[in-house]
Structure formats: C-alpha cells, structure tokens
C-alpha cells in the first residue's frame, strides 16, 4: 500500500521549483542536480543526498552466498530514450557529490529498456556504489538515509556490523604480520596457517 500526503501551498511549490526541483514527469524532462548544492557545505550536501537516498537508494541487503557481505547499493534512475544523456549526467553529478565523502561508485549500468504507458521508450539507468566494506561504512556512516526510518534503521545496524567486521579484520592483519613470516619459515602449510590465525582471532 502506498501512502501520500498533498501540500496545497503554491508558495512552497514555487520555492521548490526555484530551488531546482523538477515539476511534472521526471522521466520526460531534462534536469540536473541544482548548482547551488555544489556550493554548499559538506553537511548541507549530506542532507540533500540523505533525503534523496531515503526515497531512491536501495536499502541494505546481505549477499545470499556470502553472509558477511552486503549487496552493492544501487540508485535506479529512469529516463526516456531521447534524454538518456541527461540521465547519465545526473548520475555523474551524484557521483561527484559522493566522491567528496570519499564514497566510490563502480559504474552506471543500463538495463533492459521499457515502454511506458504512452508508448515512449525509457532507459533504465542505475548508479552502482562499491560494496567494499570501507566504502559502505562511509556511505552509511556519513550520509545514511533521511525520511526513511526503515532504511535508516537497517543502515545503522549494518554500519555497526561492518565496524565490528573491520575490527576483526584488523586483528587478523596483526596476527598475519606477526606470525606468518615465522610460520612460513618453519615450513607450515596454507591450511595450518589459516587454522592458527582463526583460532587466535577468537581467543582475543
């Protein structure tokens, strides 16, 4: 079920439009991220992105086959075929903003084209954010979600989970650095070394 509310104040609508919010069907018109956003402070940029992500960025999902990893978060964006270039520009704008937060994206994907109700062909674009755990810590820790309690909640828990994972990996690295050299020297096999590291990890 879909919930919505209406705002009848024209003044607010005009203010929004002046600020660069597109009016009408978003798939059928050209628009970019408003220029003033780029001139804002980082915390203000975060507000914009967090609210945008609250509505559009996919929520956190764990990977099926690897239970400690998360699926790459994607930002879907649809445009009619003629305006595909504008769509790509828009996603690049987001990419530019994200890079200021040290968040890396991997690519802009194109999916199968669809035909809309009124017969227009729309391209399905998607900005893919790198699922590397350090990148996700940046994404959920610095930006997160606004106006979306469910995603915000999951991102918070996911963030803490990744921090925990980071700690474990850090410990592992320490053990590797201190022990592995000697072990290799003593002629231990790959399996033995791996076993030892894991047992050491959870002793701590």
């Amino acid at each position: 079920m879909d919930h919505r509310f209406y705002v009848n104040a024209s003044s607010l609508l005009i203010l929004f439009e002046t600020l660069g919010v597109p009016r009408g069907k978003k798939t059928e018109q050209k628009f970019r991220i408003p220029e003033w956003i780029f001139k804002c402070k980082l915390w203000q940029k975060r507000l914009f992105l967090a609210a945008l992500f609250g509505s559009e960025l996919r929520s956190l999902h764990k990977r099926k086959e690897r239970k400690h990893n998360f699926v790459a978060p994607t930002f879907p964006f649809a445009k009619i075929k003629e305006l595909e270039g504008n769509g790509i520009d828009y996603l690049s704008d987001i990419n530019k903003l994200l890079s200021e937060f040290n968040i890396k994206t991997t690519c802009i994907q194109k999916h199968r084209e669809l035909t809309t109700k009124n017969g227009k062909i729309s391209s399905q674009l998607e900005l893919v954010i790198s699922p590397a755990y350090k990148n996700l810590i940046n994404l959920w820790g610095k930006i997160g979600f606004e106006y979306n309690e469910k995603r915000s909640f999951l991102a918070n828990i996911g963030l803490q989970y990744l921090k925990l994972k980071k700690e474990v990996l850090k410990d592992k690295e320490k053990i590797v650095n201190s022990k592995i050299f000697n072990d290799v020297k003593n002629g231990a096999g790959y399996r033995e070394i791996s076993k030892e590291i894991n047992s050491n990890l959870f002793e701590n």
């Binding site: 239970k67 918070n156 989970y161 592992k172």
Partner: protein, 941 residues
C-alpha cells in the same frame, strides 16, 4: 572472513534487544584507559526528559544531579535551579548499641511506633507547633534552636554540616507564602524518596574496618537513617464531562487546565496521581454565585494575584472559576456502532475498509477513543458542514470562525486525517422569502475541507446527512440514543456550536432587559416537513434528558423560495426561563465555537448571580420567589440587569471568570483518603468543582523559596544583568547583586529549616527507641554520625590556576565530601574525612563513605544517592505497592507507608544498583567506601 564470524541476521537479532527501531545497537566495552588531558571540558543539559544526547556515536546521559562552581568575585551567579527545589532534602545517620538480635523481636513495634510518631506523606504537618515568630527563629538558627529547646543533645550540633546552622540566614528575605507553607512542616518526613530506615551493619559489608571502628560501628549493629481535594471533587476532563477525582486513578483521560498567559482552556495529561491518608483539617469555600469546593488547607487556588493556598484566602477575595460544569463521565460499553458491512453498504471497497481498520476506526465501538471526537464532528457537520461526492471519492467541508476551524482541524488530525488550510470564500446571493421579499447577503466565510474519503464515509456511516440538507431526509443518529449522557452532550454541543443562536440580550418596549430564548432553525422543502419536524423533536427529546425544556414550532412565513421549490422554516425553541437557560449553558454549552462559549459563560455567570440575588431577596422578605414579580413587591425590587452587571473577567475574554469568596469554613473530613493530581502542563492547574485549582506542590517552604526567587530572577535577569538562558528553570542572578544576596540568605533559611527538621525527628526517634527498649537514649548510645544537606550552594575556597579563589559551589542532588584534614569538618573526623551518607533504595540499603583528597576535582562533591532508572509513573505501572510491601517483608524488611502507590514509586528496581554507584564513586576517587548498611525496617514518607 572466518566462518565463525556472526552473520548479519544474527547480529540484527542480538544487537538491538530492548532498543526497538531506534537504530541504536549494544556494543561491548573493550578497554577503558586513563589519558592525560589538559584542555577544557564541556557538558550541557538538554530539555528532553530523558536527558541524553549522542556524542562520538555514543548515547550519553547529560548531567542531572551535579556540581557547578562560580567565581563570585568575577560575576559568578547563583541559581535556584542549580541548587534544586527540594532544599529541605538531606540525610542523617544515627548509631545505637543494639544488635540485630535485640531489635528483631521488637522490629514491628519499633517501626509502627516510628510511623505513628513521625508524621509522613505529602503535606503532612509536624508535631512541633510554632507560631510565625518562632518559625522565623527556627529558620535562622537551624538545629541550634532545636537543641536549645530540648530537641536533641549538644553533641548533635558538632556532627552536623555547618554545625546545623548556616550563618547569614535572613528570614526577612523569605516570602510570607513560603513561611506559611513551611510553618507546620518541622518534624515531618515528607513524601517521595524521603524515608526513615532502621539498618543493620554486617561484617562482610565493612570495607574499611579501621574507619568503621572510629565511627563506632560494629558487626550486627543497628543504625537509623532518615531522609527527609476530597474524593468527590469533580474534575473537568477534555470532552467537557467531569470525573470524580478518586476515579481518575489509572485512567488515561486528559483533563482541562487553564493557560494563565493565553487564557485558553487546554487539554493535558495527568502525570501523577496521589492518594493520601485522611487529613483532619479540610476547608469548604463558598462563592457569591453559590459554587462550592472542599479542599485541604494547603491547596492552592487561582486568584487575581496568582495561586494562593486556602489559608491565605480571605472572604471577599476573587478566585477564578469556570461556570460551565458539564455532565458526569460514564464508562461506555464496548458495543459496536459501525461494522465492516455498514461501510460496504455505502462504498464497497476493500481498500477503504482496510485503511479504516488500519486506523483502528473499524469496528467503531462505544468505547473507542475516537468516538467523542467523531460525535462532536457529526453534530457540527449536521449544522455547518457539507458532505458530498466528488469524482470517485467523498469529501466534506466545515464552515466557521477561523480560530474554531483550527480547533476542528486539530481534532480531525487527532483521528489521523489531514484537512486543507483555511480557505476564505466570498458568499454572495439573494434570498427570497415566501412573501417575495428579497434580501441580499454579502460576506466572507471560512471553510476547511477534508479530501479523505475515509472520514467522509465514516461520518455518513454515523448517519450524518449528506448533500443539500434542505432536500434530504435525515434524523438524529439512532446510535446517539444508546450512548452515555456525556456523549449525547457532545453531539448536542457540536450541533449547537453550529446552529443554536448565541445568548442575546434584548430590551423590550418596557425597557425591561431579558435574555432571549436560544433557537435553532432548520429549513426543509415542503414535502420533507415531517422529516425536519422529527429531527428537531428528537433534539428536544435529547434535551429532556438534561432536564431542559424546549419545543418545536413552524415559523409562519419563515420559509424561502429556492430553486428546489418553497421551503419552510422549523424552529427549536429553548424555554427562556432563567433556570432552563442556566441548565443549558451549565450542562451542554457549545463546542467548536469560542465566541458563543465565552458569551454563554458570561451569561451563565450573570444568571447564577441573578437567581441568587432573587432568592436572597425573597428570603429576606419571607415570600415565594415568584411573588417578587408581582405587586406589591415588584416595585421595591429591581431585578439585576446584565448591562449593569459588574463582574471580573480576563482580558482577552475567556470562559473563565472571577467570583467572590463569601464563606470559608473549616469542616471535618469524614473520608478515609484525600486526593491530588499533578498534570504534565506547565500551568499546573486544573478545574475541580468549577474552581481553577493549582496542582500539588512538593515540600512546602523550601520549594516555595526557590519558586519565589525563580520568578524574581526571571524578571531581572535579562533586562538588568543581560544574562540569557535556554531553560527557565536555570534562571539566575549575579551572586553579588541584591537579588542574588537575598536569595542566598533565603536559601540558607531553607537549609536551616531542613537541619532543624531532621534534628526534631532525631529527637522523636530517640524517644521511640527508649520507650520500646525501656532504656534511655543515652544508655542506648544513640549518637549521631553525621548530617548532610543535599541541595545547597556554599562559598568555599579552591585553588584555580594557582590562585586561591572564592567559589560559590552549587550542589544539586549531590553531597559535600571534604577530605581528611579539612578545617570545616568536625575535629572527631579530622583524620578520616567527612562522613558521606549515600542512600540507595528502600530495598537495597545504603552506604557510609568518607571524603578523599582527590575529590578536589569535583569541588569535594560526591553522589547523594543511587539515582532513578525509571520515572515514578513507570515504577507505579511496574510494581504494586501492597505486593511490594509483602515481598519486602519476606526479605526481612518491615515497611510502613502512608500510600501504596508512593511505595511502588520507590521500589528497588526503580533505582540504579547502589553497589555499582558506590564502587564507581570510589574508583573515580571522589569518596571512599566504609561500609554498607542493610535495611530491616522502613517508614516511608
């Protein structure tokens, strides 16, 4: 990653237990280390009651009890909020030479005796009866006065903080109101976490044997520690009906309170409910208009000069009253009014049914919380509203004054729906009456619209007329007749808010002024005459239940010619008999129409006054009231006229008025309990028996001093001293200013009063022990260990940046803890440091600690108690007082209390673990544990 690493699903399950969907998670502490830090540190208090905020991803609590020191020579301030309102709070520890074996057989007798001899509970009055002059001496001399007057031993003074007397206390700086409130409180325990406890020393609980020995404490020893409207009153609630105060316990009902600034009547939640054992002294107040109320002597009333307690009220003084009374609340049954099928009959849609279910509006029952609001709406929409079909859905609009529409919109919001903003519509047109006379109408009306089909459908299901009301057949909804009287009132008041005329005063040809009968008109096309007639008859029937007389007539030539044909005008006339109109405004009144509500309230006040005058005159002449209208009396009695009626009202006008007190009588209380409530609104008043009364305050005198000076500081702080604050509770003034010095002198009086209070209680305890054990208190070696005040401000010297500075140390909910060798502690304790008594809860016991050198970092202050983990209200919901008493008895703690709910508030589980608190205090280095005391008997205030 290692395979054994926790999966996300598992993590999600474990990490958020008890934290809900807040996004917070639990995280184990890995390491705590001490670091060198030389920069400044910061903290702040937040306004929210949970007192926490997020710093570096940690959820941390802001300081509540605490210490703040100001350099008085450099503009430092003094703040009542920084000291705490309960200046009377403090602790005293006394030893005996008895052991557990001696006390155990006589424990019950001992506790019962103490309970009887030391008065406790909210507003209890003490056994030391003083006149005002004596009281002033007490608050200037503290414990010294008590010892001089035989309430204690000389040695007690040396082991009391400041020797039981803060020098420089000046009773002339204490308001007469504070003195009144404190007068009878010497020798009382008070309520809340004020208690008197018999405790036991155990070998395994002694942490420092040497110091314990110096205090004269030994294994198994017994010590004593202490810490210091009748039920039928009708309380006006949010839906305009009243509930007896005794029935308010455990009810979620909101009650009405009066905003003293905007003069609005607001709805507010009840924060706490008090049920207190009988008090002997009750007062009955009568006003000129015959309103009556009974209350205890210390209950405050709203007068022209703010809140005043009964004792200060004089005959002739004006008190605020709300003439409107309403009808009694009755618990509705859980019968279903609207079922799923009812909605489907009007509009068969799964979506709508599901959404209504989601909003808990289906099925709608008699006891649904939404029903009162819906009833008001049904009533109002039947008058000044319009439901119509628009496109695929339904919508409805409501007309009225701007301010009233805002209130209507708020009510609709409460139901979970949104409305448009207020639109102004120009209404232009020509009305032709049946005699072909044309009248032009021109004006602007305000409208709000609700586009949500759900609410419109619900109103239709509730039998609200839709479409043009002149052309459709509608009646009073059938379900209304089955509801309790107070819901029927809501329907009528809603309809009257829209349709009934306001009270009009007319002068007849004889220049005799009278109040016109209120009327409500219905226009119907000719063929629907019976329908209109039945509708008004039904309204008339409803009115009959309130014993209001009315009749329905057709106005001749009152109809109009419209494009639907000729209409007729039917009128509901409410009898213009004064008693009848009085009942109408007293019991029903208007809803959603502020203008009419205010006017009706003023007229009601006048009618009551007039009826009283007539009655008095008739009594004087010894004739029947009716005879006054006729010869020969009609000439020597002129009936009161509204335009010449002098009454005091608020500006801007509100339904609340002033009435004069004509009689204050002391009466005997025959009930077992008296009651009080505390509300969540900052105005702290509510409406009982038509009077605006203040809700209960905490411990009289000391609290009043802080309240008095808080308002003085608020007035001068910004204009005179340029101090800006975020929270009005933190109002302050420079220490060296006149206001600051006055408060300092008054605060000292409050502290001295608390020393004196604990001194006389000690005296009583010694009496009780010597009676029970048949030995003198001296033989029982009942020596005091120490006495400390909890909420204070004191001038002390500290080395700051290498210089000795005079600081004003505010301690709110914390205890002074001077180290060994400090000059201000008794000689006896020079080697070991100042004793600190730290209270836990009634169940967990308490600690004796001593001050340390490292305490300098906190200006020699440490915790005063273990601190709550949950609010009093939550504690009351979690525990039951009587069960708790039994549980504690099984654990070997015998408790006597004045109120079970008060006992539940203080349950052990509602407090932090005292062991942990004391261990932390010791680890922080601000005090050192000597021993733990285990409770065996308790008298709870």
């Amino acid at each position: 990653m290692p395979k054994s690493f926790i999966s996300f699903d598992e993590y999600l399950e474990k990490a958020i237990v008890g934290l809900g969907k807040s996004g917070l998670v639990w995280e184990g502490i890995k390491k705590i280390e001490e670091i060198n830090y030389e920069d400044e540190v910061y903290d702040f208090t937040v306004e929210h009651k949970d007192h926490n905020f997020i710093a570096n991803s940690f959820l941390i609590s802001n300081c509540i009890g605490g210490v703040a020191a100001f350099d008085v020579e450099n503009g430092g301030v003094i703040s009542p909020g920084g000291i705490g309102f309960d200046i009377n709070c403090g602790m005293r520890l006394v030893t005996t030479n008895l052991t557990y074996k001696d006390v155990k057989p006589k424990l019950k007798q001992l506790v019962d005796n103490l309970f009887e001899r030391v008065p406790a509970g909210v507003g209890s009055s003490g056994f030391v009866k003083l006149n005002k002059q004596q009281f002033k001496e007490v608050i200037e001399d503290g414990s010294e006065w008590c010892v001089k007057n035989g309430y204690g031993w000389d040695e007690d003074l040396s082991v009391t903080e400041e020797e039981g007397k803060m020098k420089g206390a000046d009773s002339s700086k204490v308001s007469s109101k504070a003195i009144e409130r404190g007068l009878n409180q010497i020798g009382t325990l008070g309520s809340g976490n004020h208690y008197l406890e018999i405790q036991r020393v155990k070998q395994e609980n002694i942490f420092d044997k040497e110091i314990a020995k110096k205090f004269g404490l030994f294994d198994d020893q017994i010590v004593i520690m202490f810490h210091c409207l009748p039920g039928d009153s009708r309380i006006l609630t949010e839906h305009g009906c009243w509930i007896k105060i005794k029935d308010l316990e455990n009810k979620k009902t909101k009650i009405k309170c009066f905003d003293t600034i905007t003069h609005e009547l607001l709805d507010t939640e009840i924060e706490e409910f008090y049920k207190i054992h009988k008090k002997e002294k009750m007062y009955k107040i009568k006003t000129k208009n015959g309103k009556e109320i009974t209350a205890t002597e210390d209950h405050p009333f709203l007068t022209k000069d703010g809140l005043k307690i009964i004792k200060e009220l004089k005959i002739g003084e004006k008190v605020s009253i709300l003439p409107y009374e309403g009808v009694e609340y009755e618990e509705p049954s859980d019968k279903v009014i609207i079922k799923e099928e009812d909605i489907r009959k009007i509009h068969n849609s799964d979506k709508i049914v599901n959404e209504l279910k989601e909003k808990n509006l289906l099925p709608l029952r008699m006891n649904s919380w939404q029903l009162p609001i819906l009833t008001k709406l049904v009533g109002y929409v039947t008058g000044d509203g319009h439901i119509r079909k628009s496109g695929l859905g339904w919508r409805f609009s409501v007309m009225g004054d701007e301010e009233d529409l805002k209130k209507t919109a708020l009510d609709i919001n409460k139901l979970g729906f949104y409305v448009s903003k207020i639109k102004k519509r120009e209404t232009k047109g020509i009305i032709t009456n049946v005699l072909n006379k044309k009248t032009e109408i021109n004006g602007i009306s305000n409208v709000i619209e609700c586009y949500n089909s759900l609410l419109s459908l619900l109103l239709i299901a509730l039998e609200t007329p839709r479409g043009r009301k002149t052309t459709v057949d509608f009646q009073v909804p059938k379900w209304i007749f089955r509801t309790p009287l107070w819901i029927q009132r809501l329907y009528l008041a809603g309809y009257f808010g829209a349709e009934l005329t306001k009270p009009i005063l007319t002068k007849s040809q004889k220049k005799y002024e009278y109040i016109e009968r209120p009327t409500a008109a219905v226009y119907k096309i000719e063929r629907l005459e019976t329908s209109g007639y039945t509708f008004l008859q039904q309204i008339s029937q409803l009115l009959k239940k309130f014993s209001i007389i009315s009749k329905v007539v057709e106005e001749r030539n009152g109809g109009r010619i419209t494009n639907q044909g000729r209409t007729i005008k039917l009128i509901l006339r409410i009898s213009s008999d004064l008693e009848n109109i009085r009942k109408l405004f007293l019991k029903i009144g208007y809803e959603y129409c502020k203008r009419k509500t205010i006017e009706s309230s003023h007229v009601l006040h006048f009618i009551e006054s007039k009826l009283n005058t007539i009655k008095e005159k008739a009594n004087e002449l010894n004739i029947n009231v009716r005879a006054l209208k006729f010869k020969p009396y009609q000439y020597n009695f002129s009936s009161p006229i509204f335009s010449r009626f002098n009454f005091f009202k608020y500006n801007p006008p509100t339904p609340v008025l002033f009435d004069e007190i004509t009689d204050i009588k002391e009466i005997e209380n025959k009930e077992q309990f008296v009651y009080d409530i505390r509300i969540k609104n900052k105005n702290h008043n509510f409406i009982a028996d038509n009077f605006i009364v203040g809700n209960c305050g905490s411990r009289g005198g000391g609290h009043q001093i802080a309240t008095d000076y808080l308002s003085i500081f608020l007035k001068v702080m910004e204009p005179k001293y340029g101090i800006k604050i975020l929270d009005r509770e933190l109002a302050c003034a420079p220490f060296n200013s006149k206001e600051g010095q006055d408060y300092f002198a008054a605060m000292k009086c409050g502290i001295n009063m608390s020393y004196a209070n604990r001194q006389v209680i000690l005296h009583r305890i010694r009496e009780v022990f010597s009676k029970v054990f048949n030995k003198s208190a001296e033989d029982l070696e009942m020596h005091q260990i120490y006495d400390v005040a909890h909420n204070t401000a004191k001038l002390e010297e500290y080395k700051i940046d290498g210089k000795i500075k005079k600081l004003l140390v505010h301690r709110k909910g914390s205890t002074r803890a001077f180290p060994p060798g400090h000059e201000e502690i008794p000689k006896k304790y020079q080697e070991i440091g100042q004793p600190v008594i730290l209270g836990g809860s009634m169940e967990s016991g308490s600690y004796l600690l001593v001050g340390t050198k490292k305490g300098e970092e906190t200006f020699y202050s440490t915790a005063h108690g273990s601190g709550r983990t949950m609010s009093r209200m939550q504690a009351k919901r979690t525990w039951r007082g009587d069960k708790l008493q039994k549980d504690m008895e099984n654990k070997g703690i015998y408790v006597k209390t004045k109120s079970f709910s008060g006992l539940a508030e203080e349950a052990g589980g509602a407090y932090k673990d005292v062991d942990e608190v004391c261990r932390t205090a010791e680890e922080a280095g601000i005090s050192k544990r000597v021993l733990k005391l285990i409770p065996i008997g308790n008298v709870k205030g």
